[in-house]
């Protein structure tokens, strides 16, 4: 078998062919080895030829840009349709939020210190628990809540068409003026209660 380079050759730079054949003389300086990838925009020794600028070129340029513009208006330009939310697919709790500001507004306009309790009877279990906790808070806080809720309600009425996800976030934050979102106080009772249809799944 042919011997390995290490064993037979001496010194660095042993190659399988004689260097003189390639044309590199003895002791000549080889170009330095490359240690990093070549720069993204290497400096060019020869600048490219300038563009041909004439009447013909300018006319073709105008044609091209006009063509592109026209294509955008034709029916062949297929645009992606914006998908609308299908409310049947989102959980019920998100939908009821839409009704809440309306109810709040009507009740507040009567100008009585409204007990939040009766207006929230229509909510799902989760909200009942949250508001039981709320009721336990002092009256001053309730008034603050009412005023903040009033502002919230008006704001929400304006933003009614926007996504409900945002409203939910705002309400949960502002309701008790705590730093924790409402699900922090969740005691987990109603967890898994929403999905009654598929009891085969193991609940961890």
């Amino acid at each position: 078998m042919a011997g390995l380079g290490r064993g037979r050759g001496r010194g660095k730079g042993y190659m399988s062919f004689s260097i003189e054949a390639v044309g590199i003389g003895k002791g000549e300086n080889l170009p330095p080895s490359i240690l990093q990838p070549t720069p993204l925009f290497p400096p060019m020794e020869h600048k490219p030829v300038p563009l041909v600028m004439g009447e013909e070129a300018e006319y073709m340029l105008a044609l091209k840009q006009e063509f592109r513009g026209n294509m955008k208006t034709l029916p062949f330009y297929v645009r992606q349709a914006v998908s609308k939310k299908d409310w049947k697919r989102l959980p019920k709790e998100l939908r009821i939020r839409v009704k809440k500001p309306l109810k709040e507004n009507t009740s507040l306009s009567v100008d009585t210190p409204v007990d939040p309790k009766p207006s929230k009877k229509t909510r799902v279990d989760k909200e009942e628990i949250i508001h039981k906790l709320e009721v336990g808070i002092t009256l001053e806080k309730k008034e603050e809540e009412v005023t903040s809720d009033e502002e919230e309600g008006e704001k929400k009425k304006q933003e009614e068409e926007q996504q409900d996800g945002e409203e939910e976030y705002d309400e949960e934050e502002f309701e008790e003026e705590t730093d924790y979102i409402m699900s922090y106080f969740d005691n987990g009772e109603e967890f898994g209660g929403d999905s009654d249809d598929n009891m085969d799944e193991a609940i961890y």
């Binding site: 044309g23 041909v52 006319y59 044609l63």
Partner: protein
Amino acid sequence: MTAQEVRLCGLLLQEHFGEVVERIGTHLLRGGAQNLRTIANETNTPLDLVKKSLCVLVQHGACEFGSGRRGPGSPVEYRANCERVLRVLRYPRYIYTAKTLYGDTGELIVEEVLQRGHMTMSNTVKTVADRLTHNMEEGRSMEYSEVVSAFSKLVETHFLQRCPPVAEMGTAASSTTPATPSTPAAPASTAPPTAESNPDCYKLPHVTLIGRGKRRRSSDDSEEQRGGKKAKMEVESCGDEGIYWQVNFERFHQHFRDQAVISAVASKLDQTSSEIVRTMLRMSEVTTTQTAAYTQPLSANEIFRSLPPNYSISRPILDQYLSLLVDDPMEFVGKSGDSGGGMYVVNLQRALANLARATLESVVQERFGSRSARIFRLLLRKRHLEQKQVEDFAMIPAKEAKDMLYTLLSENLVQLQEIPKTPDHAPSRTFYLYTVNQLPTARLLLQHCYKTVANLIERRLFETKENKRLLEKSQRIEAILASLQASGAEPEQLTEVEEMITAPERQQLEALRHHINKLDSTENQVDETVFLLESYIFSTKTK
């Protein structure tokens, strides 16, 4: 379908048809023939968008459909055509050529057909007449007959052709176009019918279109509605449903190739020789197939008779010019016989090869300098040379010659050929010869060109995106100005609106427009090189 080609096709589709079509198109280009469900699943696009995109692609000829591989019962399969999508880059050149040959009417006809993929004749005539009327002065309108005559001229010279009939699918064979003779039901394995296979390809339908173009006025809404209804009724009564026309790209390419040959002769020899070559090419326009290596032989007598009248050269001088052309090393014209005063042909294939070679040499010269170009030309001429011989023939000192050769080698423009002296290929006893193969090098450069154009488009999109806010603002202000002017506002209001764009913003806009124009113009120019190289490569394939 190389990666560069697919990338460029994707960008072109995106610019002209939107992102959805781009996604579907690139998926088809990469994946080969697929059916509808596969495409929808693999690209995660809703089915109706996929259907829409496929319709758009088929309308523009970028996609073909045929029955599936498993026989006539399997679902329809779609195949994208990479070459056809790349043609989109050349649209401005086609439109400009139509303008030089047939005036504004021809230009608009070709532009409309290109925009819509394929159209019926009546539709085209009406749209073009309306557009021309729109640009004319008040009170004048364009006659349909003028447009029809321009259209027929385009068809006679084969620049427009009928769309190929739809391939038969299923058992029932029903011809879709009334004018086509009954074609036998094509089996699923043969290639889809081309436009040329239809013998009525260039026959105009018998339709009488009488009328004038309608000018669209914004104030005459009721008249427009009535006119619209009338137009609809007229379309129904025209007798050319189902006969769609498309642009014949091959004919345009033939024209470009002729132009390239003529200009090459003009720059190498002189104007008169180029006129002679132009006459010869014009005479053999319809008799030469596109893949012919040379034109039909023409006798010197015929050429003399067909010369344009303002080029009155005497017969002996014509003979002298012809012999000059034959002796020229470029070999544009060859002599094939002696009857009729000498039979001459134009060597199309040879001419294309020479033009491609000149392109390669010029590329090397511009990128690496004239001495490297000298080495390159040397290797092209002498085929195989050793290192020592290169240095001697090129008259360049050894060290620099070595350096240049290795640079060219690293760029793959020059190849090394090993010729062993002994069976064990020992390096010290092997000849290493440098060589240049024209065809692979041309292919390499073509891929570089595709990459260049794709980069240009991406840079242009990037620049537009960076300055989107500014562009939108200027568009809004222009719209406001236009509406103000239309409703007759005072000059103070106009200047007030104009001042809403500050001076540095104006400068920025100017610079942006300048850059975008430059990038666009560069794309057009690179496309000229692409055309030359593509034609050369195609001409070698059909040997």
